[in-house]
Symmetry: C2
Subunit: 147 residues, 2 copies
Amino acid sequence: MTPINQLAEPWRSLPERLRARGLRWTPQREAVVSVVAGSDGHLTGAELVERCRSADPRTTPSTVYRTLDALEAMGLVQHGHGADGREEYHVQPAGEHGHRYCAHCGKHWDIDPTSAAGAAIIEAFRPDGFIVDLSHVTIVGRCNGCT
Amino acid sequence: MTPINQLAEPWRSLPERLRARGLRWTPQREAVVSVVAGSDGHLTGAELVERCRSADPRTTPSTVYRTLDALEAMGLVQHGHGADGREEYHVQPAGEHGHRYCAHCGKHWDIDPTSAAGAAIIEAFRPDGFIVDLSHVTIVGRCNGCT
DNA sequence: ATTAATGCAAACGGTTTGCACTACT
DNA sequence: AGTAGTGCAAACCGTTTGCATTAAT
């Protein structure tokens, strides 16, 4: 996909920031990162492995997961868990957000902290002094069209 | 654990209700059910397997999971997913409820639909015509004492 | 030259499946 | 007798690990 140096921040400067931490920038990481950066904001580990493999069949799962760890350490992605319990990675520029799935049709929506619903969830637990991590929130139910 | 016929409804009548559906009541199912009925309202599949094994080491995972399927079909349990993504089974008498975990200390609370927080979540999506299944809701964050 | 990252293969944990056998109805 | 449920073992899927090799610094 798009080479790293054509991407906007925070991706463009990633190689340097990795090096600053004593980590390294490799062709494999570039491949993984370009897929992540070109995603819609969330992917499961398995999805990413698959997309990387179709870009380059030589990609191995371990490299992908290790790269995800590095990206998480850099604060560029954050992991949560989807409706089926898989590891789900949220890409940072999209901001911390949760997910909402229709159990019937599978449709899904983001839950943004600035939306009414997102704010309501955060507020719901504030009286207890509990700070909700919205990126781990998954709401499952039945949507409008699936009644 | 407690034999089935010493339990309250809805467990006591379970054998008959299974039979009414053409399903069967077996010693293995009694063993699993007595553990489920004696639980605090939620267990993961793996937890249940383990508890059954310690009651009777001959228990096999397949039997446990198949029994859970049967119990779910009877509406006695309902599955969701916990903070780590495992299958989590909610025992019915406790009512449909979600869970809330502190990512730091691991403490956990139920989210009851009648509580302010539970209601807030349900209400949050009502404007969209979306019916939240609270038993699938897991809120992760940081609690009061872990600031 | 140092040491982080890779690729492989093998292991993991939780769950599911195929199949011949058992036992509930 | 009929068929649902069992137990075993093996397969599954997504993820993680050990280890010798490669390559970024």
